[in-house]
């Protein structure tokens, strides 16, 4: 049993911050009857147990928290640094994207890896982050024909959003590179790496370093830098 709290109808950091603030307030107050919550760009899905809280009572409690969401202070965000190989065999669309943007691939890599991204939310497939913060100069409409299979770890650009595919899946984003870090590992104690609200930076690495890190990831001796 769930209800959806809509805090806007746009993709923006402001709206998403209110969504995450509402989720944080629900956790802080330990709102009775709430079982779990799912944040997205602009809404919070609230799963609840109607045996513990009625629909009307929950709506009233949530309305009160929505008012506080504008001024709530969220805990400091984690900064996660992910190594990313921008070689052509990993960044399948890097050259085409650079051409479309009238810049060199080096410049595209510099702009992409120079930015700091905000995880709006994690979802669709396990551990997949939808992120804000794509510099205006490198924004591109999505691919006209989505790929049937995108390898996990692929760093993709689509419009104002940046995502990293967590499992092999279809996808319509421009693939600029690939991280050897697993965003979803079903055998790990914590299978997913990123959380809504995390900050993310991509650190360019060459193919040799990619292979070294990938081997350590496979041995489970690699941990990304989290500040």
């Amino acid at each position: 049993v769930a209800l959806c709290v809509e805090l806007g109808d746009e993709i923006s950091v402001e709206t998403n911050t209110r969504v995450r603030a509402l989720e944080y307030l629900i956790q802080q107050k330990g709102l009775a009857g709430v079982v779990e919550t799912v944040p997205t760009f602009r809404s919070l899905l609230v799963y609840y147990d109607p045996g513990q809280v009625g629909y009307d009572a929950l709506c009233a409690a949530l309305a009160g928290l929505v008012e506080q969401a504008d001024t709530a202070v969220l805990p400091p965000a984690r900064l996660v640094e992910l190594p990313c190989c921008y070689d052509p065999e990993m960044g399948l669309d890097l050259a085409a994207a650079a051409e479309r943007l009238h810049m060199t691939t080096d410049e595209l890599v510099r702009l992409h890896s120079g930015a700091e991204y905000l995880v709006y939310f994690v979802g669709f497939t396990p551990g997949l982050p939808y992120m804000a913060g794509v510099p205006e100069r490198i924004q591109l409409p999505r691919l006209t024909t989505p790929r049937v299979k995108v390898p996990p770890g692929s760093a993709g650009l689509g419009g104002k959003q940046f995502c990293i595919y967590s499992v092999e899946s279809p996808g319509g984003y421009w693939l600029l590179g690939r991280t050897p870090v697993r965003l979803y590992d079903p055998e790990a104690a914590e299978p997913t790496l990123l959380r809504a609200g995390d900050r993310v930076r991509m650190r360019p690495i060459d193919r040799a370093e990619y292979d070294v890190i990938a081997a350590r990831v496979a041995e489970r001796t690699y941990a990304p830098v989290i500040a």
Partner: protein, 313 residues
């Protein structure tokens, strides 16, 4: 120990599912027809959340290597123990060397098999349920294969074998009426589209799985496009993509999605949808939120009493 001689079409280890991980993109999993699953556990003296099997359409064949009790519920299937017919919705007491065969469903889709003690696989994120697409939980995150062995947890103590009376067995209907609460994007559909959704039958498609029940029937017409900015997807959310054909999201659903949602199936009717065979029809009926909550309470009360009541964990 249970030895899998033939896994059937798709058999997975399930308990009542994991909660709290949808915000990381990990769905609850668990049985689609939770009532049939819980009754099976009760018939062998287990707690409601003990791990058992969910088998789709064609059941497994397995051998038992210790004294145990099993119960087979859900879809209507032929069950044999050492080639002799055995009843469903009943406690079956087995001895080492017995072989059980669960055949093809005559009615319904999902069969549940509970074993006394429950299947002992490690808990992952608090649950033994299998999430196939995420290769998580259950037996190595996958469906059963020939040659697999399943350990059973020690059993607390035998209970009197029982067999449910006909009236206690949830019926498998030929054209179930599924109750829904309209929204959250019902306003994104035309009046004619909503009328069609609530008045015409829909046919279950064979592509349906634990992620979603795909239906075909009258087009649920959108007013202005089928995309929204992604929201979380609740159990029973009915997404309508551009083709106007509804998809009911089930236990292995993606956590978020960007299609308009015309309505949500009440949690009490999820199991009934899960037993509708490909090619079979169903209908939707709208109820108000208060009515849906009343139906849920009724469902929970009847479940609390089913098969002589539950055993606390």
């Amino acid at each position: 120990v249970i030895r899998i001689l033939d896994p059937g079409a798709q058999s997975t280890v399930q308990d009542l599912g994991r909660s709290g991980h949808l915000r990381e993109g990990i769905p609850p999993s668990g049985p689609v027809d939770a009532r049939a699953f819980v009754i099976a556990n009760r018939l062998v003296g287990n707690c409601d959340d003990c791990a058992g099997l969910e088998c789709t359409v064609l059941g497994p064949r397995f051998g038992v290597e210790r004294v145990c009790a099993i119960a087979v519920t859900g879809a209507e299937v032929p069950v044999t123990v050492n080639h002799a017919a055995a009843p469903q919705w009943a406690t079956l007491v087995l001895k080492p060397g017995d072989t059980v065969r669960i055949g093809a469903a005559r009615q319904g889709v999902r069969v549940y098999v509970a074993f006394s003690g429950g299947i002992d696989v490690p808990r992952v994120l608090g649950s033994r349920a299998t999430y196939l697409r995420g290769r998580l939980g259950g037996l190595e995150g996958r469906a059963l294969r020939r040659g697999d062995t399943l350990r059973l947890a020690p059993h607390v103590g035998p209970r009197r074998p029982r067999r449910l009376a006909g009236a206690e067995i949830p019926p498998l209907e030929s054209e179930p009426e599924i109750r829904v609460v309209l929204g959250p994007q019902a306003d994104r559909f035309t009046r004619a589209g909503l009328d069609a959704f609530l008045s015409s039958p829909y046919v279950m498609l064979p592509q349906s799985d634990r992620m979603g029940a795909r239906l075909t029937g009258a087009t649920v017409t959108h007013t202005k496009g089928h995309d929204i900015i992604s929201d979380g997807i609740a159990l029973g959310s009915i997404q309508v993509p551009g083709d106007g054909q509804p998809i009911v999201m089930l236990v292995d659903r993606q956590s978020t999605g960007g299609y308009t949602k015309v309505a949500t199936v009440g949690s009490f009717d999820i199991g009934r949808i899960g037993q509708v065979k490909p090619g079979q029809r169903l209908r939707f009926r709208a109820v108000a939120v208060a009515e849906a909550h009343r139906l849920r309470r009724e469902f929970e009360q009847s479940l609390a009493q089913a098969a002589g009541g539950g055993v606390s964990r």
